[in-house]
Symmetry: D2
């Protein structure tokens, strides 16, 4: 195992922020490789705990393919504190969400020319040429002056571009475990053992998983190739919570996927996740401010028209009042005025 | 029940922040009275949920003594957001902790003169004169220009000064339920049914409970009277968590105390809390930054020398390494370098 | 003059945030109308001072056309404080820039159908139908649940949609006075007397000025009509600075433009601004953190290759050292290590 | 000149924050020594610019006495950003003001015993013993686990304890140049050429200047010795402003003081500052929120009863209205409602 810390920002104080990079060389030539990173939003500590366990595991059980691990991928986000809170979702200087700043290297790509040039070529030749082109563009971008979030993103793209699979470990504020998977990889993703899967189409919104798979998915659409990469955003529960008990379970799922894909040894076992198209994923906005008190249980089905939450506002009227508080789920949160 | 919203701050936008005040008139003349407030630090939402249930309860079961309830005592703190976090522990403009700005009305008080004047007088006469004096001083302070935290504090002191008991409902970041009680009131406090009690001496550090009991405790010390007031800071678990299930239990404890003290009807039942002198309460500081992973279970006894927590830092060495990580509790947190 | 405060957000504390709206009815039927707003980013106080003077002016000198003024358009932004700083550029909850959340009402618009339907129709008929359609779409959007920044933006769009001109008053952090003008309106914009003009093409990036002119500019492109609206982002110097002396000058420029366009009486006078295509506007990113000490004078021409700024970092080497610090403007900031 | 970076905090990311320390050895044995630091509140960049120039100066003109310089004394404060603002006045985790956390080493000191022991001893012997005792206590404190602000403060105390003079370079938000001087040193302080001096009594409020002089002042009071140290808080104008033109003037003042005290060579020249007892220093609190528009000129005398500022709030009434806005300075800010 090879360890480095790569500097990613020189602070005003003259000190350096850096990211730790662990490289495990695979024992089996030609075996598929994986890149993993955690905590791009700083507060997503569970993913880093899982990676600590994975590093420990791989030291005892060397992988077949190459494995690169970047734990705590975003030192600025991790260090951003307000009170005891880690305010690492966005850059406090700019408001930019750290997972929306990746650079799509196929912007302005001449697909027609590429298609013509490689017509009838074998896949491995096409893939090698395409990866080389992506890498060249990412490297050029990395030379440009840019805000921290953009520079960090492109650095992580350079670190991951040579790998077959990319696992980006996140957490959500309060949430059940779920993941974002490109729709084409949903059967493989079942090996993670995560109960809920959001199926993502070939669309780029600036996130790591998208920027990793989207160029190759587009290539497949344009040239009729297979898709040689997979990438996922894994949401390992509530942010700011580091649970060793859960981390062992989370790691087990990651290892099932890696064994299934041939990166590590082992007998993989698939789960039976609930799949949901991203288009069917709804965000519910509170109609008023107040103290939100959830009624619907997290991670369970709710009936249409069921009340999801009450919002407590202190007014004269008694609390938990009239039945007009019950609204149609999932479009509205019911709220009450006390 | 009488309801008002008292304005406490005019914002730069011209809008008003206000606090909701609920007044229940007691049915039994001369019965003891209670003042309750919640969420002085904004994020302490559980206390506000408990007060919502208490309001509902008192509407069905009118109290014997007067009850005043100020839910969400600090609108600025409640509205201060960074990410989804409520950054209400201190004023983001000034850094001032909202529960350290109360005004001690006995500052510069001429105890000798007061003692001489009331020598041999009956307690009720002394108490009435003393309360009048406190009130006059608080009212004078309320006229002065001051930062928001100071002005709010003195407003809340004016609202509570006429009551016998003061319950200030808080939460801590992640914590078991516990309370701060003036040492002289620890047997009464057992009725709250809260498992851990911190016994506070007669010292003023700027907090609501202290400012409420300290003048009267000092009076007792100087003139040999009894102490006619009690006040407590109740810590209802983790901040940012509103749990209806827990709120019902929390309310039950509050009602046991109130029944025990004669403010409400009911058959009070005392608990068996663990008592701890404030001087024996230790804060443990992390020696380095990192991802803290608690080993010691929250709310349970730990052995001397036991490891309390691990701090994960990504370095080359393997995780969960040498046994030098085990330190003497409670003075150090063990930490490891990965 | 008619005055209202429109509620735009109910805070967690139950209090309301609102925006002040001043309506002046024009004395001359059919005269062009103007909508003005200020401080969308909270800290842009100079614009609000200018609007205060404008309100005063219009009370003495009633306008020919209708004038609507929304001073402090964003109460949340204005009230967001960290230290003495007004952190109103983005929503501290979400990171969203308040001037990037406007809703483009022509999204999915069937231009071909509209074109066919109004072929050969007189402009005023086309304009009336188009404005009606825009208004309908904005009103529908305003009904949807959405985060505060989005809801506020659409409310301001509804307030402004009936006006001919839109002046959105901003400030930049530290800056000379400049403005963003749609390229087609640059000669009219010269009446503001602002020395620097950025010429904006028909592109929508989420800002108020763009959302106001872009649908009409596209209409002109599609149907060959004239463009009946104009909108500008005026940058009135440094944010957080309210200068009465400068406000009077800023107001004079606004009044020259309004007189020129027939909204108010007066003898308009045009200035001679420097025009710059938006594509030629460069943002310079600091290559390292440090204390930036500007060398290039603000608002003055700098030569190609001139040093723009030094960045002071405390290292062993002496300050203001070697000449390698001189870089090609405007692509790099020179920096030195002390 | 000797240069070091001392680590003062290990961040969660594993990176180190450090402070740069420059040591110049004096050419004249026994000459008085000086310790300087800047930017304890992060945003006070002007002081750091002055120190950069001082380092440059001392390299060309070596001092007679020892000089220690800690530029950017607080890396956490310097790196704390919200928007483009440096939020370094207090620790965003705790709200603690970075210049209120110094440790008074004479707390619990047995003055009577010390006095008895050194009765009749020569001053240099007393001073040496007293400094040794202070140092021992500070070093012991530095071993304790504590929050960052406390640990940093005690580190800076250790770095400065051996020096005769301490210059702590600060800035205020918007301000004229002024300084805090212990009352006994006001004639020497006049050499700084700073127009306004606040005369501080022997009271400890947690700041650097106080913790440096207070033990020695108390020693003088108890034992009748002279006071061998001086320390000052110099306020070099607005924070967040780095002006080279002003820095040269600021440096000139510092050098006049140092030459006057024999730390450097040169012909010192004293200024004629306005002196003001700290007790006569008034802070004015805004009675309402709004856009403050200063009427009283900064740094100039205002008459009793003069209006200091207007606070603009958008209400229906016309701006700059009735004369009841004029209040007695300095107790109130007038405010108006528009």
């Amino acid at each position: 195992m090879k360890f480095r810390r790569l500097p990613v920002r020189q602070l005003a104080s003259g000190d350096q922020l850096s990211i730790p990079v662990y490289d495990f060389k695979g024992s089996k030539p030609g075996a598929p490789s994986v890149y993993l990173q955690s905590a791009m939003h700083g507060s997503e500590v569970q993913g880093s705990l899982v990676l600590a366990l994975l590093i420990e595991h791989l030291q005892k059980h060397p992988p077949l393919g190459n494995v690169r691990i970047v734990a705590n991928a975003n030192p600025l986000g991790l260090n951003e504190k307000v009170g005891e809170y880690t305010a690492g979702r966005f850059d406090l200087s700019t408001g930019e969400n750290f997972n929306r700043r990746y650079f799509l290297p196929t912007e302005g790509f001449d697909w027609a020319k590429f298609q013509k040039h490689f017509f009838g070529a074998p896949e491995e030749k096409i893939f090698a040429a395409f990866r080389k082109e992506l890498k060249k563009r990412i490297a050029a971008r990395a030379q440009q002056q840019a805000p921290y979030a953009d520079r960090l993103a492109v650095r992580l793209q350079l670190l991951s571009i040579d790998y077959n699979f990319c696992l980006d470990l996140h957490c959500a504020n309060r949430s059940v475990r779920h993941l974002y998977t490109p729709a084409y990889a949903k059967d493989d993703a079942a090996y993670f053992g995560i109960p809920f899967q959001l199926l993502v189409p070939n669309k780029f919104g600036g996130a790591m998983d998208e920027v990793f798979f989207s160029p190759w998915w587009t290539l497949a659409e344009k040239l009729g190739t297979s898709i040689p990469v997979q990438s996922f955003t894994l949401e390992f529960g509530d942010h700011e919570i580091a649970s060793m008990v859960e981390a062992k379970k989370d790691l087990a799922g990651v290892l099932h996927y890696l064994a299934h894909k041939g990166v590590t040894k082992g007998k993989p076992k698939a789960g039976h996740p609930v799949n949901c198209e991203l288009a069917s994923y709804h965000v519910v906005h509170a109609p008023v401010g107040g103290i939100t008190h959830w009624v619907a249980p997290l991670g369970k089905r709710v009936k249409k028209d069921a009340l999801l939450a009450r919002i407590l506002v202190f007014r004269e009227r008694p609390p938990r009042g009239e039945e007009h508080l019950v609204h149609r789920a999932p479009e509205f949160i019911g709220h009450e005025e006390l």
